[in-house]
Amino acid sequence: MRVANMVPDMQYAMQQSQQALSTALQQVSTSLRVNQLSDDPSASAIMVTSLAESANVDQYTKNISSLQSKMQTADASLNSVVTSLNSAITLGTSGATGTVNSENKAAIATQVQSILSAVVGQANTEYQGVYVFGGSESTTPPFVQASTTYTSAQGSSTVPLAMTTPLTPNSTTTISDASTGETMSFHAAAGDTIANLETAINTAVTAGTLSPGTSATIDASGNLSINSSGGVVVTTNATTLGVMTASLSTMVANAYAYVGNSTVDSVQIGESTSVKTNLPGNQVFTSGANVIGSLNGLISALQSGSSTQIGGATTAITTALNYVSEQRVPLDSTISQLSSQESYLGQETITLTSQQTALVGINIAEAATNLSQAELTNSAVLAAAAKVLPQTLLDYLK
């Protein structure tokens, strides 16, 4: 083929080799093979999901770190409760012996009362502002000393509340019973009155949710009064009632009602792994073998019961102790699961990082070799251009 002009070909070759040099230089300086989507669209797309997975793994790891502290706090509390219950058993056993006189029994009862306070303190354990045994109602102490009478604030002698007084629609009134360990909630529909609440209370008494005798009346000061001999804790957000407060001097010694809820939260700690992150207090302390109730029973037996009754109450505490120990098993299992999942996520981070490097990264040795080759090629092209382009016949014509 007739060659008239080599300049365009040389320019193209130089442009190509310089482009290759620029790419190689960029790969060396960034350690990345893919610097823009078009370098490898498929790898870039996979990177989107891979980076999202990495971000999730990082967050799961943070979640685990936060949950480990919370769960360990809960476990430490239950451990203290176990220790306290063991002390109570020891005290109960000594109190049940026939040789102990009533004064000593009263002294032992006082010690058991301290234990009960300590156990309630543990049941109200807080971790970073969260009550760990409150269910999902975790911003208020879950165990509150019960009172025999709770009264509303909105009524007065001049404008008394009545059974026909309507409750604020969609408001909820909750009565937590210390004796039964259960809670009754009344959600007011539009048109509901205090009489409807009273009916609900009577129904709950029949069902055993509330202690026998629990009642709702309008007192002399024109306020709603919730009464229970065993002690209750009442809350409401009905503005027509106002805040329900325990009446003075009606607190029941050693009786605590659970005002948390039974909700068990779950938190995702892996792509398809979740753990239960709380142990509702009613499950641990008031249902099953009732921890608080059994301690209360021992105190009563020590104060006024026979050796046999003290012995029975002590046995109840032993049962409660075993129950708490059982409750710790899933908790410990979760702590262990968190730990192993943390290790797995650590490995997963490494795997994902390797995957990302393989997708868009470049081996530094390979990049350096590429750069070296590109430099060599570019030098060769430039040298060829410098040698060939200036040569014409005119150089040889005299």
Binding site: A4, Y12, Q36, L37, P41, S44, A52, A55, N56, L393
Partner: protein, 458 residues
């Protein structure tokens, strides 16, 4: 043969070599002129004369000059030029778009991931107000990422829209120039002459036109006709049938032929074809995917929000504000919630409840109505933008290489070789010198002849 005849042959030779030198001179002068086709001198033997039964040569005749060109290569170059310009237009536009989709702290994928990690964090500690605020902020960042990406696409679309007007203006300017050349070219051709420089100029203008749109040339003796790929006439003989523009209701410039018919969708190739394809097909398709993702993700997020209970114990209110229709969703999506307590983390309204958080987390993996999860949908969009850019860039590279080959072929046929012209220069110079020597010799012979009668007298 008489001395007079010989002198005449010598003069013809001087003329012929002078013409050849002129062609060489013109070739050297235009060796770097774009589109120039080298010329060769057309020399012919003079008609022999009969001198008493002896046939005698009558010298050389300068017939004219001929440009050396290959129409087929010329057409291929035009065709490849329009493909290259179209690919270049798309590459340039896509290269401005793709950084928006590249993984960074601002892109949709990263912000979407950040929203899910913030939700996961809230799930682990629902009572923490900082965690709630973080979800709100992450949601706002995601909405901003959608807005920004949509804005990049629409800004690019508007920029391309302005380019359509500029391209049409350039096309009209070129067609006028081509039409203006037409009468002279037709005259030359009708007289049987080579188009020469005028043909080169026309070819160069058509090449420039090819860089703007797909153009087809029909050559006839009388007049050349130029049409776009779909047959819209641009030049008929000496008449330029310019394109017109009008702005549609959506603000997009439409291209009309000289009769006012809308030919926008029929345009292909060249900068205008590539620009219109990007503006009317590629970008709207990307915008549609983006809008669909924004709309469906926002709707799904709001649905989860409304199925839960917020920190006040109320049913979850709307988190994202999204238009009722898909179109424009990416540009308009925003976070309507201002109070982080309104995030419906729980299902029971309790302060520490996280019963609804699993549904929020599931959004990351559950398929949207479009068929894939939000992350996969976005990943597909990334793949699409990357592939479009890579393909346009590869097409641009391939046509550049192809054009290089075609230009080499063009140069092989029509290009000026300085070395060749240098040798021609020597050849013609030598021939001219020899012809001059012949004239000088004959002149001397005339002197000798004239002196024949006077030599003995001296």
């Amino acid at each position: 043969m008489s001395l007079g005849t010989s002198l005449s042959i010598g003069v013809q030779a001087l003329n012929a070599e002078s013409g050849a030198l002129q062609a060489t001179n013109n070739n050297i002068a235009n060796s770097n002129t774009p589109g120039y086709s080298r010329q060769t001198v057309l020399l012919d033997e003079g008609t022999p004369t009969d001198n008493g039964g002896i046939s005698e040569g009558s010298g050389v005749v300068l017939e004219g000059f001929q440009s050396v060109r290959d129409e087929l290569i010329q057409n291929q170059i035009q065709s490849e030029t329009q493909a290259q310009s179209s690919a270049n237009a798309q590459t340039a536009s896509l290269q401005q778009i793709q950084p928006t989709f590249t993984t960074s702290t601002q892109d949709i994928g990263t912000q979407m991931s950040a929203l899910f990690t913030s939700l996961s964090s809230l799930s682990a500690d629902p009572t923490n107000s900082t965690n709630r605020q973080a979800v709100l902020t992450a949601g706002q960042n995601l909405a901003t990422a959608f807005n920004a990406t949509s804005s990049v696409l629409t800004t690019q679309q508007l920029s391309l829209n302005a380019k359509v007007t500029q391209d049409v203006s350039k096309i009209n300017s070129l067609t006028q120039e081509i039409a203006a050349l037409s009468p002279q070219l037709a005259e030359l051709k009708s007289s049987g002459q080579d188009g020469g420089t005028l043909q080169d100029q026309q070819n160069q203008l058509v090449l420039q036109l090819s860089a703007l749109t797909n153009v087809s040339v029909t050559r006839t003796e009388g007049a050349d006709t130029l049409t776009t790929g779909n047959g819209t006439p641009l030049v008929v003989g000496s008449e330029s049938q310019g394109l017109q523009t009008t702005t549609a209701a959506n603000g997009m410039v439409q291209v009309l032929d000289s009769n006012g018919a809308n030919v926008t969708s029929a345009l292909s190739g060249g900068d205008l074809g590539g620009t219109v394809e990007m503006r009317d097909q590629t970008i709207p398709s990307l915008l549609n995917h983006l809008d669909t993702l924004a709309n469906q993700f926002g709707t799904a997020f709001n649905a989860v929000q409304s199925s839960g209970t917020d920190g006040y114990g109320n049913a979850g209110s709307q988190f994202f504000s999204i238009p009722a229709v898909t179109a424009g969703s990416a540009a308009a999506i925003s976070v309507s919630m201002t109070d982080p307590t309104e995030i419906a983390a729980s299902t029971d309204g309790s302060t520490g409840g996280n019963g609804n958080m699993a549904s929020f987390s599931a959004l990351q993996t559950v398929a949207l109505p479009s068929g894939q999860s939000p992350t996969s949908t976005y990943a597909n969009l990334v793949d699409q933008v990357g592939s479009l850019t890579a393909n346009a860039s590869a097409e641009s590279g391939a046509t550049t290489a192809s054009l290089l080959q075609l230009n080499d072929q063009f140069s092989s046929v029509s290009g000026v070789s300085i070395d060749q012209e240098s040798t021609n220069l020597i050849t013609y110079q030598t021939a001219y010198e020899a012809a001059a020597r012949v004239v000088t010799t004959i002149q001397a012979l005339f002197q000798v002849t004239l002196a024949m009668g006077t030599a003995s007298a001296e």
